[in-house]
Symmetry: C2
Subunit: 397 residues, 2 copies
């Protein structure tokens, strides 16, 4: 029976609050905080006011410290912006509270995705006897756990992985991103990197395209190779992996919009002088696009996110595909958010359960593949994201 402080009241925050509230056996008290308290209050109202809310600027360590000292939670679940990971980790260290997030830190002015900043907290968390669990969303998060499961149960040696993230749903809008457009566009416009033979290989953003035949009636969709942060920790902690690639589906329409917005400079993350003010184009674009939260009731179809792991079992080549299917409309009915937010928020809650029950607990900074995957998946399935495991053959991507 623990008190939890959730920071961030976007689509994912809403899911986290709803799912924590379903498990009052673990989360006896819940406080939701955000820069805009009204967003927290709106979510609290969905739950009949059974959670507390607070205002906090997550860029500001003293404000965070004051809030944590006042609330005295056992764990802080950070579902704010990735820019804010370090300030929240600093505040947890200062107040002696465990930490969990769903996306790695990135600086605001360069689209540079790497764990170095957060891994640098290793000694400080260890010395303080505190735990930080990094990337407990779906990808990163569950994809790390699926890879660890392949390594533990299905293969003696995982040699290659393809992480494949399909959103086969549609929101019916001409253009909208399914989560924070600023984060989404930064990610997909960054150069691609994949892991091959002990090093990162850089190629053009979305320059490598394949078709993949998805299960569960989804069928073939175009997938594009891109960098995604879980590869960095997975290849570090499962060093038998000599090739790791991440793939995501994008519709032709999405790519057309992205190309044009890049051409005209609207995806720029640097400041532009305009009418005597400094404006970051991508932030202005975000202000014009539909609020991802507004897409929930409009989105139909499924997501399919999973890992194809290939390697050796008893000396022979073997492949296993571990994935989850999630339905946008079912998610919306349950928690008022579509599957993109749901698949990120539910694993955060399961990660929190792992930590608060002591199932996964050790001082230091940890990635998801470093703990027993089966213990996590035993909780994740009943919480709404069951895995499917298929052994078979898939074409090389």
């Amino acid at each position: 029976m623990s008190k939890v402080l959730i920071i961030g009241a976007g689509g994912v925050g809403q899911v986290v609050v709803h799912k924590c509230a379903q498990r009052r056996d673990i989360f006896s008290e819940i406080t939701l905080a955000s820069r805009t308290k009204a967003k927290c209050d709106a979510i609290a109202a969905q739950l009949g006011g059974s959670i507390a809310t607070a205002q906090v600027d997550a860029d500001n360590v003293p404000e965070l410290v004051a809030l944590i000292k006042k609330e005295q939670p056992k764990l802080v679940i950070n579902v704010a912006l990735p820019y804010q990971d370090l300030t929240i980790m600093d505040a947890c260290l200062e107040t002696g509270v465990d930490y969990l997030d769903t996306a790695n830190y990135e600086p605001k002015d360069t689209a540079k995705f790497e764990y170095s900043w957060q891994w640098a907290y290793q000694e400080r968390f260890k010395d303080a006897g505190l735990m930080a669990l990094l990337g407990s969303g779906f990808d990163p998060g569950v994809t790390n756990v699926y890879t660890a499961l392949a390594a533990k149960k299905y293969l003696d040696e995982v040699q290659e992985i393809d992480i494949i993230d399909a959103n086969a749903g549609s929101h019916g809008q001409p253009f909208a991103t399914n989560f924070n457009p600023e984060i989404n566009i930064r990610e997909v416009t960054a150069p691609c990197r994949h892991w091959e033979n002990g090093q990162w290989v850089e190629t053009g953003a979305l320059a490598t395209k394949r078709s993949f035949d998805f299960p569960d009636g989804i069928g073939p969709m175009n997938i594009y190779r891109m960098y995604h942060e879980e590869m960095e920790s997975i290849v570090k902690h499962i060093p038998t992996i000599r090739k790791a690639q991440f793939w995501m589906t994008f519709s032709d329409n999405y790519l057309k919009h992205l190309e044009v917005l890049q051409n005209v400079g609207m995806t720029r993350i640097d400041e532009v002088e305009f009418q005597g003010q400094k404006i970051v184009p991508i932030q202005f674009l975000k202000a014009l696009l539909p609020d991802p939260g507004s897409l929930g009731p409009l989105t139909k179809g499924k997501t399919c996110i999973g890992v194809i792991a290939r390697g050796l079992k008893d000396g022979k080549r073997k492949q296993v595909y571990i994935y989850n299917i999630c339905d946008h409309e079912a998610c919306y009915r349950e928690v008022g958010s579509q599957a993109i937010s749901y698949t990120t928020g539910v694993p955060a809650v399961v990660g929190a359960i792992m930590m608060l029950t002591g199932t996964w607990h050790a001082p230091g900074v940890w990635n998801m593949e470093q703990f027993d995957p089966e213990l996590f998946l035993e909780v994740l399935g009943p919480m709404g994201l069951p895995e499917v495991v298929v052994e078979g053959e898939w074409p090389e991507l």
Copy 2:
């Protein structure tokens, strides 16, 4: 020998200054004024400092009046923004100076193109013994003159006109507009109107597409029907015309960019709240796009703008196509601007010559088709924009 005041130091202003300076027999003194005096000074430097420059806010009547009183020009050539036509006309009335522009007034906050605002000045100019010549660019301007020429010389009765504007050139940029992007995008995203049987017929913006086989080796290009202001005055002053349509070429790439920018709201002309400031998206977009002035040295190819007039001659159906071909690179070599600015700026100078020499002069507010077209074209050809007249048959558009 007259003094002229040119207001507006964009691409067209630069052409106007260069061409006036070629005709010192008419334009003995030239002053160029703009909100940003540095832009005027840069153009003056191209001409070895042989013109004067000044700073003026063309939205501000008292400032305009003070400048005109100080300069005492015989004529004001307005090549500023269309929003500023009325303030400059007011200042001309107050100071007793003739007026010429190249584009009709439109209010800043609605894309509404009509002559009503400027025609309302008719009595005041007449009573003051002053002349205002409206729309002395290429289209409006030369296209009005071509139509008047067809009515005077080639047909007894002009019944239908198709004004066709092709830019068969390329600047090699992913996306850029050839003149002020704010004005350009407002124009092409407005609903289409064409004249048919005594009334305006409204259809979707760029919804009607045809292919037209252009002369002079340009060949077939896609053209799109849109509203263009010269139709309003032409059908008023040449009332035998029962159908008038305006067509412009757009590349698939341009249309793709336009579609996306509309989808995301970047072409909006209303104010959006952003970071505590009010921002008009299309103005922010303009700040991001390449300055049309920078495209001059990059643009290759030709423009072809003209009018197909169809009607009766000696009781029989007859068609005549009157057009001009202009080469981007040749324009740039001559005046440092590409053909889009050149074809607008040269007719403004010819209109000024018509007025200052008394060839076309009468008190009141006038459109181009109301004067003798041959007198205008006799000057326009030697100034750089000769017309080609072809009698033949063209498919109905």
